[in-house]
């Protein structure tokens, strides 16, 4: 489903240039469960941003479902982000003034979906994630774990093909963190490709395929044998 070919990205950090991605090659099939690990500054977040079409590479190619993503204009990329990609962030990035329901339905609102249709879809997800009691609560009325679950709901409301998680349990205690990981893995078993960036080795080992990065290069690519 995904093919990265010689992806390069360089940043200017003050006086020094930083090679965030250094000729990265990667192939991912649909439904895979990957973790990306490495020290800070290794480029794992940059890789995620590339995959999520949030950033464009300096050189190289990115094919998603056999479509060349690197040549897309911004509008087209936005459309892809809306439809085919879901993001989950460490800091949740929920909009404080909107309720849980309103946060979850944002991707649908952006593309002009009718309110009745939205309501139906959001209700389904709220039920499934045990959030229906909190539908009209603001983020500041929710616990960390609840907030992340709302964020996840928002990420999958469009039933995207790809789910990208950047340190999703970073701000959570171990119990909530466990809940969130299990939720993500459950979604993966339903067919969504899950790519998770984490610095926690225990977390990373749960994935069936594990990538290690350092200095912008892909060092190790470990895969569990299929059961």
């Amino acid at each position: 489903m995904i093919r990265l070919e010689q992806l390069c990205k360089r940043y200017q950090l003050g006086d020094e240039p930083v090679q965030a991605l250094d000729h990265v090659d990667l192939s991912i099939t649909a439904g895979e469960y990957l973790s990306v690990m490495g020290p800070s500054g290794s480029g794992k977040s940059t890789l995620l941003n590339m995959l999520g079409l949030l950033d464009t590479p300096d050189s190289g190619h990115y094919w998603l479902n056999d479509e060349e993503m690197t040549t897309l204009g911004e509008e087209a990329r936005a459309a892809e982000r809306n439809r085919r990609i879901g993001f989950v962030f460490q800091a949740y990035h929920l909009i404080d003034r909107l309720s849980a329901r309103e946060n979850i339905e944002l991707p649908l609102v952006l593309t002009g979906t009718a309110p009745t249709e939205r309501r139906q879809k959001v209700d389904e997800l709220l039920q499934r994630l045990n959030l229906d009691r909190h539908a009209n609560h603001r983020p500041n009325q929710l616990s960390g774990g609840q907030r992340q679950r709302v964020a996840i709901a928002r990420a999958v409301i469009r039933k995207p093909a790809l789910l990208l998680a950047d340190e999703p349990t970073g701000n959570l205690d171990s119990h909530s963190g466990q809940e969130v990981i299990e939720l993500l893995e459950e979604l993966n078993t339903e067919g969504i490709t899950l790519i998770m960036v984490t610095h926690d080795a225990n977390m990373g080992r749960r994935a069936r395929r594990r990538l290690w990065m350092q200095d912008g290069k892909l060092l190790k690519d470990e895969q569990d044998a299929r059961p």
Binding site: N49, G52, L54, D55, E74, E75, A78, A79, E80, R81, N82, R83, F87, F89, A91, H93, I95, D96, R97, L98, E102, L106, P107, V109, L110, T111, G112, A114, P115, R154, A155
Partner: protein
């Protein structure tokens, strides 16, 4: 994105920082209020003045001696080529002519018995009253000079009658005008003031007699009113030709009521716009307020902008979200401003009933459009800035 949702998102943003939005709205409101109040008062003044001037009726052409248009003071200054009363009567026979009014104006002592009053004296003819829309309250109007040298009859203005005769009947009484003996044959209805000039403090005598009273050969002005069915230009041309035939040269000037009203109207309209513009200064400061607040808001909500981009909002959508906030702030400000001015005008109208207030829905609509424009202009740069933020960097700033 659906407009309902768009509106909902914009409103929640404004509502979430109530104080901030409220103050910004207040700034615009004051600006709009100033603009509305000033233009309304200006418009009121314009209507007042125009009404005052139109009271003499339209379809009127004024002829003054002297060619150069040194204002309409042609009659004030002496002239070597006077306009004669006979000139006036000669115009009577032109097609479409309705009334012909030769005018001489001066002032002098009016005596009745032992009472003396110094007033304006206007010498004119029998056509004056209908032409100028003056009502004769009692008796008759001035005699017609076309049927021979007129009798020494006078018509009193309302105030003169009151001052000299009180409640007694003035008709048939004898008064002295500038030392000459006149008989009162009529009293005018009260007309009031026109721009400081008391229209009731006048005595009217026949123009021929006024000429000899003031020792003049020529009249100061000839007013001609004409019937509908012809244009002002055509009528003016006819008069011009007739007078040139009589004088040999064009040593007089014509001005149609239309022209005069039009130029007056134009001047007043410009004046109204100018003072409206003064109110606009406050609006400019209000706009600066919107820009400042929007930029601050965009900066604060950087992470949110990054998030929106991440879930698929296009740059244009982001721009319109923030632009919408700016426009909405300004529009609400405009509405509040209009409400406040409405209240203020209402209070003013109660306090000073004489004040000419003309609330025109046109200007109100214009004010609303203006506020929307202000929102648009002030919001466009911050909104574009928001749209062009790098989503990756924006997300990192929480």
């Amino acid at each position: 994105m659906r407009s309902n949702d768009y509106l909902h998102l914009t409103l929640t943003s404004l509502r979430s920082s109530r104080m901030r939005s409220g103050l910004t709205i207040l700034g615009i409101a004051i600006g709009i209020c100033a603009v509305v109040l000033l233009t309304t008062l200006g418009e009121g003044l314009r209507v007042y003045v125009m009404d005052n001037f139109s009271q003499f009726g339209s379809r009127l052409i004024a002829i003054n001696p002297g060619k150069s248009q040194t204002g309409c003071t042609g009659g004030l200054l002496a002239s070597t080529r006077p306009l004669l009363v006979e000139d006036a009567w000669s115009l009577q026979r032109l097609p479409y002519v309705e009334y012909v009014v030769p005018v001489v104006q001066g002032s002098g002592a009016i005596e009745y018995g032992r009472r003396v009053r110094y007033t304006d004296i206007i010498g004119s003819g029998s056509d004056m009253a209908p032409a100028w829309r003056f009502e004769v309250a009692q008796g008759r109007s001035l005699p017609d000079g076309r049927e021979g040298y007129p009798q020494p009859w006078a018509v009193l203005g309302h105030k003169v009658k009151q001052e000299l005769f009180g409640d007694k009947n003035a008709l048939g009484q004898f008064i002295r005008v500038g030392g000459e003996r006149y008989r009162v044959v009529g009293v005018m209805a009260a007309k009031g003031q026109m721009l400081g000039f008391d229209l009731d403090d006048i005595v009217y005598i026949p123009v021929e007699r006024a000429l000899s009273l003031f020792n003049r050969t020529g009249v100061m002005e000839i007013d001609v009113t004409y019937r509908p069915g012809t244009t002002a230009e055509a009528m003016a041309e006819r008069i011009r030709q007739r007078l040139i035939a009589r004088h040999g040269v064009e040593d007089f000037s014509l001005i149609t009521q239309d022209e005069m009203l039009k130029s007056l109207d134009r001047i007043l309209a410009i004046l109204t716009l100018a003072i409206g513009g003064l109110g606009g200064i406050s609006l400019v400061v209000g706009a600066i307020g919107i820009i400042t607040i929007m930029v601050t808001t965009v900066h604060e909500r950087r992470a949110e902008i990054g998030l929106l981009r991440a879930i698929g909002a296009t740059q244009r959508q982001v721009m319109w979200l923030f632009l919408g906030e700016a426009i909405l702030l300004a529009l609400i400000g405009g509405l509040v401003g209009i409400l406040i001015s409405g209240l203020a005008l209402g209070l003013l109208a109660l306090a000073i009933p004489a004040l000419p207030i003309q609330l025109s829905p046109f200007y109100l609509l214009l004010a609303l459009l203006l506020s929307a424009l202000v929102g648009l202009v002030s919001g466009v740069l911050p909104a574009r800035r928001a749209a062009s933020l790098n989503p990756v960097l924006a997300l990192q700033s929480e």
